[in-house]
């Protein structure tokens, strides 16, 4: 988001994508997480899974080359990589529920110290948009979250306890914000990598809960 200090959207996605390990099966949520597939991660071999049963999709199709019957979970017309396969929805969620997804990357409104997160319903809303988020959150081996560190009015999205309805409890392993890379510790968050141009004091002031800091503290190295 323009005007926000620290990393931009793509750099936040890069920070998460650089945690992917060779051979992982990865599910990317709508929004910033989708941008993880743009990150250059060298020879690291990733299989991208989409809720609609597409296993092994690749880049967004070039203009004029789209197959209108081939989309990822965000509805983008993507391409298939060698080795791709398509299964139906019940099998696609058997893959998810069965623990065959190494990591799911999602956006969120809030993440708590305990690794709870909220991303399907706003305060006071009737209903919401769950999609596949609850299945992925409950069952993927790891949940990584990407979000802006603060809301538009400046309150922290890293909180002691979510006050929005949660998507799942105790599942978040890593959080990337515009200020860096964090991990929930149960009673706070641990800052593992810091964005360039931001100080620990600024992050502490913007964080609504206890913050511990890795020592040494690496500075995020923006791609390119």
């Amino acid at each position: 988001m323009s005007g926000t200090k620290g990393l931009n959207r793509q750099q936040m996605a890069d920070l998460i994508a650089r945690q992917f390990q060779d051979g992982w099966v990865v599910n990317l949520g709508v929004g910033i997480p989708t941008m993880c597939s743009n990150t250059d991660i060298g020879d690291t071999d990733i299989v991208y899974h989409s809720e609609n049963g597409v296993i092994g999709y690749g880049a967004v199709a070039a203009e004029g080359m789209e197959d209108l019957n081939l989309v990822n979970a965000g509805g983008q017309n993507v391409t298939l990589k060698p080795g791709a396969a398509v299964v139906h929805h019940a099998d696609s969620f058997a893959i998810i529920r069965g623990g065959h997804i190494d990591v799911t990357v999602m956006g969120a409104y809030q993440v708590s110290c305990a690794g709870d997160f909220a991303n399907w319903k706003l305060k006071g809303q009737k209903g919401g948009g769950i999609g596949g988020a609850m299945d992925l959150a409950a069952c993927a081996k790891r949940v990584f979250i990407i979000l802006e560190h603060t809301t538009r009015d400046g309150s922290s999205r890293l909180v002691p306890e979510c006050d929005l309805p949660v998507t799942a409890r105790g599942v978040v392993k890593l959080v990337a914000t515009n200020y860096g890379l964090f991990e929930p510790t149960g009673d706070g968050f641990r800052l593992r990598e810091i964005a360039p141009g931001v100080t620990v004091e600024e992050i502490r002031a913007a964080t609504g809960t206890k913050l511990t800091v890795a020592d040494p503290l690496p500075v995020v190295r923006p791609a390119g």
Partner: protein, 246 residues
């Protein structure tokens, strides 16, 4: 002797006998596999007090194609069972949301994998099952859970259907189906859960035997009516999504 053909001459004819109060599932995920032509025919047919089942009520993307939300707007729907009553991004709006908020139409919000599995269970003779999905959330409040091997699971019930409306790329006259790429999604799962599955088919419907038995994605025993989609503009086909403005 060749099996009796399930081909029906028009979409109007394929949906003509659908009674008020039916439970109807709509296949598709984004554009692929969505039965636009059958939805349009149901809008014209006018059955009321329907319960609709599908991933989303639709209408967040432009150009807007026939979707479940249009049946709601047309006053035909009592309830929807889906994974989205509001859009994924708070900045987008679904036309359905206001009908739900005002109480004009009821909704049951179900996680997407649970929705698929409830229909799979219905088609497979399983009355209920336990899933870890939604445990600890407000969807699980007051509902039955059970601990297996130290982990808590939520009880979910099968979701049987009166009708499933789906789209496939290819069919033979017996109703054996093939899907192209992401067309598959919920479609073969819904077909197993429905008393009557109606399919709109992209390509000319071939005689039974022309699709190799090993290459069938959904057996014709789950399929009851087939209609070929005419070329545009008479028939409705997936279109390119307009990129959202930022």
């Amino acid at each position: 002797m060749a099996p009796k053909s399930k081909v029906v001459g028009s979409f109007r004819e394929a949906v003509a006998d659908i009674p008020d109060g039916s439970t109807i599932a709509f296949g598709g995920f984004a554009m692929p596999g969505t039965p636009f032509n059958l939805i349009k025919a149901l809008l014209e047919q006018g059955a009321k007090r329907l319960t609709l089942v599908g991933n989303t009520t639709g209408g967040a993307q432009q150009p807007r194609m026939p979707d479940m939300g249009m049946l709601v707007e047309n006053g035909q729907v009592a309830k929807v069972i889906c994974a989205f009553t509001a859009a994924t991004r708070p900045t987008d709006t679904l036309p359905f949301t206001k009908y739900y908020e005002s109480g004009e139409c009821d909704a049951e919000l179900v996680p997407q994998g649970t929705l698929a599995e409830r229909m799979r269970a219905a088609g497979a003779g399983i009355p209920a099952f336990y899933t870890p999905t939604a445990v600890g959330t407000e969807l699980a409040a007051g509902r039955e859970t059970r601990v297996f091997d130290g982990r808590e699971y939520l009880l979910e019930y099968a979701l049987p259907l009166d009708y499933a409306f789906i789209r496939a790329v290819r069919a033979d006259t017996f109703g054996n189906l093939q899907f192209h790429r992401a067309q598959r999604n919920f479609n073969p799962v819904m077909a197993t859960a429905a008393k009557c599955t109606i399919v709109e088919v992209d390509e000319p419907i071939v005689p039974a035997g022309e699709i190799d038995a090993d290459a069938v994605h959904c057996s014709g025993l789950f399929v009851h009516r087939l209609v070929r989609v005419p070329l545009p503009p008479e028939g409705l086909w997936p279109t390119k999504r307009q990129e959202r403005r930022r």
